[in-house]
Symmetry: C2
Subunit: 698 residues, 2 copies
Amino acid sequence: MQPSLGIMYALCFVAIAIAFAYAAYLIKWVRQQDPGNPQIVKVAGLIQSGANAFMRKEYTILAGFAGVAAVLILLFLPSPIWASAAPLNNVKMAIAYICGTVFSAIAGKLGLFVASLANARSAVAASKGIRPAFLIGFRGGAVMGLAVVGACLLGVMGVMLIFGDTSILLGFSFGASSLALFAKAGGGIFTKTADVSADLAGKVELGIPEDDPRNPAVIADNVGDNVGDVAGMGADLFDSNVAAMAAALIMAAALDGATGSANVGMVFCYSALGLLASIFGIAMARIGKNGNPTRALNSSTYTTTAVYIVLTALATLIFDGFRWEIWGASTVGLFVGVLIGIVTDYFTDDTKPIVKHVAHASKSGPAFTVLSGISYGFLSVLPAMIGIAISALAAYKLCEPLGGQYPLFGISMAAVGMLSIVGITISNDAFGPIVDNARGLAEMGGLGEETIRVADELDSAGNTVKAVTKGFAIGAAGLTVISLLGAYMSEVNAALVEMGRAAEQIMGFDIMNPTVFFGILIGAAIPAVFSAMLMLGVDRNAQRMLAEIHRQFREIRGLREGKEGVEPDYNRCIDIATQGALRELIPAGLVAILATLLVGFIGGVEAIGGFLLGNIASGLLLALFMSNAGGLWDNSKKYVEAGNEGGKGSEAHKAAVVGDTVGDPFKDTAGPSINTQITVVSLVSSLMSVMFIMYSIF
Amino acid sequence: MQPSLGIMYALCFVAIAIAFAYAAYLIKWVRQQDPGNPQIVKVAGLIQSGANAFMRKEYTILAGFAGVAAVLILLFLPSPIWASAAPLNNVKMAIAYICGTVFSAIAGKLGLFVASLANARSAVAASKGIRPAFLIGFRGGAVMGLAVVGACLLGVMGVMLIFGDTSILLGFSFGASSLALFAKAGGGIFTKTADVSADLAGKVELGIPEDDPRNPAVIADNVGDNVGDVAGMGADLFDSNVAAMAAALIMAAALDGATGSANVGMVFCYSALGLLASIFGIAMARIGKNGNPTRALNSSTYTTTAVYIVLTALATLIFDGFRWEIWGASTVGLFVGVLIGIVTDYFTDDTKPIVKHVAHASKSGPAFTVLSGISYGFLSVLPAMIGIAISALAAYKLCEPLGGQYPLFGISMAAVGMLSIVGITISNDAFGPIVDNARGLAEMGGLGEETIRVADELDSAGNTVKAVTKGFAIGAAGLTVISLLGAYMSEVNAALVEMGRAAEQIMGFDIMNPTVFFGILIGAAIPAVFSAMLMLGVDRNAQRMLAEIHRQFREIRGLREGKEGVEPDYNRCIDIATQGALRELIPAGLVAILATLLVGFIGGVEAIGGFLLGNIASGLLLALFMSNAGGLWDNSKKYVEAGNEGGKGSEAHKAAVVGDTVGDPFKDTAGPSINTQITVVSLVSSLMSVMFIMYSIF
């Protein structure tokens, strides 16, 4: 059958409509569940309003930032408006940019909203058994998954329908990245600021339990889980998904040329099928009364994967011009994603030897917890790096017989394939913070031992399943940035042709070219600098918040004694964490962007090619290292707390807590933000390519 | 004047002869100094015999390893002996390899010998004032510097004179690298094994002071300083120096072709002048009676630099065919080296704000010491990465007008330039452990407060000056590996021409080529894996040694009580540290080499190009991070111990000690060994290029 773009857009509309309708149904369903006793309703309300306060503030600052960026885009991109043959493109780009931020923001807001409904209800349901509690937590997360993927597909399709130009997609994608930078890195600083200062003030200084309501930072701590893990993660994956689609569509359009549309159609078709497969996987997820929640979550991923592979194979069979080689590339990507997840799991799962080694090392003191965690964290990068390397190579080699730019298109389709099932990935990921909050609410709401035990079991399942979903996320990010490198080269060459300098077109980036090498070394340093600035930001921000906690205990009478009716000023702490997070985030983001501009204006487009490569290689390395080491320390602490190596209160426990504290900003702030940093830098490079061609020194 | 190779070789002979004569004079001079009281003589003797035991064991194992490697080289390199047109080349290569190990071993042994004479004498001299103590420490280190550089130049010249083929130099260089791997990484594991277990057993478990003679690990700890810092560092820089010369000579010979010899002559001329400049710098180093030792050490570096620049300028003026552009490249390299040193100093000097920040963070507990140290360690990589990037770019651009392979030759000459003054660098570096030992001996020998204070001042100067010399070492290593990449490409192309496949010659390594990209990702992961294996090795080894310490305290009666005449079995501890170090080192080295072979046989020569690049980029990043973070923690601890943030015994001090313990294997085991790992991998790649061309899958 001859595929027309019309059919594919229709398919996308159907998938989006089902996704949104299903999400609406799930929201309604979650709302109908029992919200619990007044104490739970009150605390859940505090968390919800705190999260809203953060989001409001974040979106306000982002609006200012986006406004400035939109004006700059209008003036300079894709080429300076005064020198451009088509100044209308600048207007389109600026509009697409704003749409990118808005779409992502709406999806994030919606997910956060339902997550903060689901946490309390899941806690209440836990008193009735694991089955209903699981379902509420999972369906709450699923709304986020459906909203993010639906919005992504809708936005990308909208840009294509309205502007009919794939390079405008870079503007949309950059908008999504800007938001992800704020949501993921800003949310990451927020959550760790609150976590660290609540812990330090509570346990270390005042000697009160972690979740004691007298602690002014306790609500901020719970808010952090939502804004960092739910909203931040959603924005991050929205960003990756849009970037992967944009890169694939740019290459597809170049391959199709003026006549065909098979490749562009294929990208949309695969994405729509991925969304449908995710919906199917979500609808199927269920556990028996005494079933295993981890297995239920993982099997929903595997179901989705299988459905996606079958559906895309059918599509490839039906439609002329859809290539089996490309289908193979996307399938290889998916399989490698699963494998990365399984291997990563080995390094962070507390039933496996590595976590036990680190726990055992803790007996010799915190230095050994740290050293062994860093060492195993370093080791853990190898399988994922090999996996990404092999899937890129395999995708390329599979599509090489097709000739031309098909091999690179194959790599981008491996990324699209992996990210097409992102709907289920996000659902599983958002499940974690929801049931984590549910556990806290069950404790604060006095729902009893058995309820807490059920919530604990769900929480632990959420942690374990994260390793597998993270495998997808990191693998997909790695492949996406490779295809962004391809998209960047396409953009540069298109611009050179347009400027009548077709002879200067670049065929690649040679390592032996010193400007490329120059870019590589500086690009490799940026993720380290970026993550250092975020971690130092957490520290500074936590100091500010500690000062505020001390002030409240000093000035609010009866607070320390826990007098009836005396409450700390939770909002003030949320305010401080919010403002500080955004204040600390902006310099880090600017350093990454300025470094890109400097390298580009000094070394030109080839230096930028090297810069992106160095950034990808060291970024993947550090992101994997920090995420895995953080998870490893976290689980080692839990392993000790479960009574091993001396159990709670022992020297090993104290050391394990130090490891966990080091690991927190690793895994929740710096590590995952590096993905976003790489995407931002890649997009800035593509967008600025004409400027670099026109104005670079070398 | 027309330069002939004969003149240059004569110049080298003169420089080498002066260096060896001067070294012999310095050894005699050191021996004539007062060796101190019987207690000092005894302890110094124990340290010396322990160091000898380690070296003997190391060289024994190395001999076995080198024997196997030599046979493999004989069979397979440069091409399989049964398929080779010139099987004699395999014999030459194997001989050169063995010579490389032997030359480096002799230089290391000599340096260690004089260092263990100088430490006691410097301690004794410290009782007479800082001036004589400084001179003994410095001259002891200088012997090492002179021996290493003299042996390097002699060896490289010998290979050229005897075999007349630059590519045989790769064999010599690989020999030097094999030894460096054992000496630096093995010594690094040894020294930290001893340090950690002496500390844990002494301070934590038994509650006895650090240097208490009852502790069976105390002599091993002192031996570690010598084998890790003196012998290891010497082998490391011998290796870098040989590699830089080999890379430069391979490119120079290709440029000279069959007719000229100007470029080869220039490499030898510059190297000989560097050695002469270092001798001058060593001879000039002196401090006034109340002078500042740091200034004296740094000024010897600056003097040498200035003399080198003037001498090379004169040579360039005198000899026809010596290019000013190349002189410029070498001078830029030197300046950038100095700049990197100064900036690095900012991150590790305890009079500068960063060290104070980390000390202050320690007040909140060890997690914050670790987090802030890691963050600033990450930040500290940026200036050095920029410096290396800029010096490579500048060297290339300066030589670009000369055309052909001159730009790459320019980069390699920047590295040779930097390393030509390595004589003074090693002198300054070896000064540190000598005076560090002197301080310990002054304490154990009961030389009194004032002597210890003088020794302390020298020790602190040694630490500070290390930052500047490390700037040279890292900058030079970065540039060297770039030129090794160039040498690798030359080797591949020469082999292809020889095999009648000239059309397949490679012009570079394109990032967008998926086999190159495949290599990059795996290459980037290797330094992380290598350093993780070394650090885990330290940990395992320390556990073995702890068990031995416990055994001795259990079984040797009267040891714990310090009964007169009862001594622990120091040698048993040295044995364990030695055997364990070598046992832990070998798997790490093999992983790096096997990964190279796997990538080469899977992806071929282009994948290896990418592999080397990824290895360089992530290797520089991690080496800089680990070295600087380690230095930062060390000095933060010292800063707290000097009475700041609560001083000794405070919570901040405990936290700072945790940071220091984490930092020790960072800066003394893993960080500096990464340089060697990169060189080993680069050389294996160049040596195996023909095999990869013949037998790779893709």
